[in-house]
């Protein structure tokens, strides 16, 4: 990825590999990666959280494997190899969620297989795990995974509160609240994402100025 702004120069510490994904290089708010699941699955806080955690798990496992095999995979077939590794862990996650709870699988089933095409995972494999040690790759995946989950939750919570009047199925407003149906429709995903990006960018710009 050309737009990998990893500032891990000589001074980069191991904690920095973890911290950067949470805020400074947040995969959604700063790198704007993996928009397909961000927009599609963030209609309720619960869906967003489960999707974020599933993605984080796949990211972690594929980062570990890609990092372990980084000397074994020739450059020419690396993308095919990464996709194969990612698809494997997505399938494993799919079975695991089925075994954890029928209810959860019912609400997520259609979206789990979409993790394969999440470009965040491929970009971390290509830009980081294929060039770094296993330990660093784990920290990077954890940071990015938690950052992604956090961002999805931010979107999902806002959309559920405004679009459904609830948070984790808990009613928040009195009877008369008129739900903004548009917020749980696809258009609401764009509105919410734009609003969050605006807020984050305002904060960043102020920080730079001061």
């Amino acid at each position: 990825m050309s737009k990998d702004t990893t500032a891990s120069g000589p001074a980069a510490t191991t904690t920095d590999e973890f911290i950067k994904g949470l805020w400074r290089e947040n995969p959604v708010f700063v790198q704007v990666l993996g928009m397909c699941p961000v927009l599609a699955v963030s209609n309720t806080a619960e869906n967003a959280l489960a999707m974020g955690l599933a993605t984080a798990f796949v990211l972690l496992m594929s980062n570990i494997l890609v990092s372990l095999l980084r000397d074994f995979i020739p450059k020419q077939v690396r993308i095919a190899s990464y996709i194969l590794i990612i698809a494997t862990f997505v399938t494993v996650t799919d079975y695991a969620i089925q075994a954890i709870s029928v209810e959860l699988y019912k609400s997520l089933g259609a979206f789990i297989s979409l993790i394969v095409v999440n470009c965040l995972i491929l970009s971390r494999a290509e830009a980081f795990a294929s060039k770094n040690t296993v330990g660093k790759s784990i920290l990077d995946a954890l940071g990015m995974g938690i950052g992604f989950t956090f961002a999805l939750f931010c979107l999902g919570a806002v959309r559920e509160i405004l679009g459904n009047g609830t948070l984790f199925d808990w009613a928040l407003f009195p009877e008369g609240f008129q739900n903004w149906i548009v917020m749980i429709l696809p258009a609401g995903g764009f509105f919410t994402l734009a609003a969050w990006l605006l807020i984050i960018n305002v904060i960043q710009t102020r920080k730079i100025k001061s």
Binding site: G9, P10, I73, S81, V92, Y95, Q98, V102, K131
Partner: protein, 232 residues
């Protein structure tokens, strides 16, 4: 990019190397997927069976024990245990005095996104549908999946009329109407924002009841002979 980072080798790798890498990863993937499938299968099957059982108790309120039956082409109830291949599957629910509460019938049909599988409870005494639950659907979260959660919609299935004419035909086929326009006891009050999904439910129940209810109605309630499954 880290300066300490390991840079990929620039020289062209031989075909053997590429083949070895792809093959190696392929075998590893196959192994991981197969073992995940084998490890989770017993639990997945148990959870699915439990979910189905729970659904039967849910659509037949007051049920204490259930037995599975098949409906064969002649419209006769046959015990599932005989292993005969049947067209429809239904579950007879009994209360604590072993009186028949009703039948839970499985049905399926095209929804907005994919096939929707449902289970509904039929009370042969009152000739009404007394319960409904979605077993499997991929309807749009937040919109189409209201057919599973919307209490106002689910209230339709507390006493949905599926009465028969003296000739043994369904008097009125179940149908979904627009939200707020329900006037007759055989109509389902639809959901605005889930028009296609709620209409699909009407069609599935309509088609299934017009085929199954006339067959079930003539049946004498099967006696409880074998040890039935108890509600925990």
């Amino acid at each position: 990019m880290s300066t300490k980072a390991h840079t990929p080798k620039q020289e062209a790798a031989s075909s053997t190397k590429m083949l070895r890498a792809m093959l190696g990863i392929g075998i590893l993937s196959a192994f991981l997927i197969v073992s995940a499938f084998e490890l989770t299968r017993p639990r997945v099957e148990r959870l699915q069976a439990e979910a189905l059982e729970k659904a039967v108790f849910n659509v037949l309120p007051g049920t204490e024990s259930i037995r599975a039956f098949g409906l064969n082409a002649q419209g006769e109830l046959v015990d599932k245990a005989t292993g005969e291949n049947t067209e429809y599957t239904c579950y007879a629910g009994y209360d604590q005095n072993e009186n028949l509460v009703g039948y839970a019938v499985e049905a399926a049909g095209q929804g907005y996104a994919d096939i929707i599988r449902i289970l509904y409870g039929y009370d042969p005494k009152e000739q009404v549908v007394i319960g409904f639950q979605v077993l499997e659907s991929k309807e749009t979260p937040g919109l189409g999946d209201k057919i599973e959660k919307d209490q106002r919609f689910l209230d339709n299935f507390k006493a949905l009329d599926v009465g028969l004419t003296p000739g043994g035909e369904l008097k009125n086929k179940v149908i979904t109407v627009k939200q707020g326009e329900k006037q007759n006891p055989w109509e389902i009050d639809g959901i605005t924002g889930a028009t296609i999904s709620s209409r699909a439910i009407g069609n599935i129940i309509g088609a299934s009841t017009s085929a199954v209810v006339p067959m079930l109605h003539g049946q004498s309630p099967p006696k409880v002979e074998t040890e039935p499954k108890k509600n925990q």
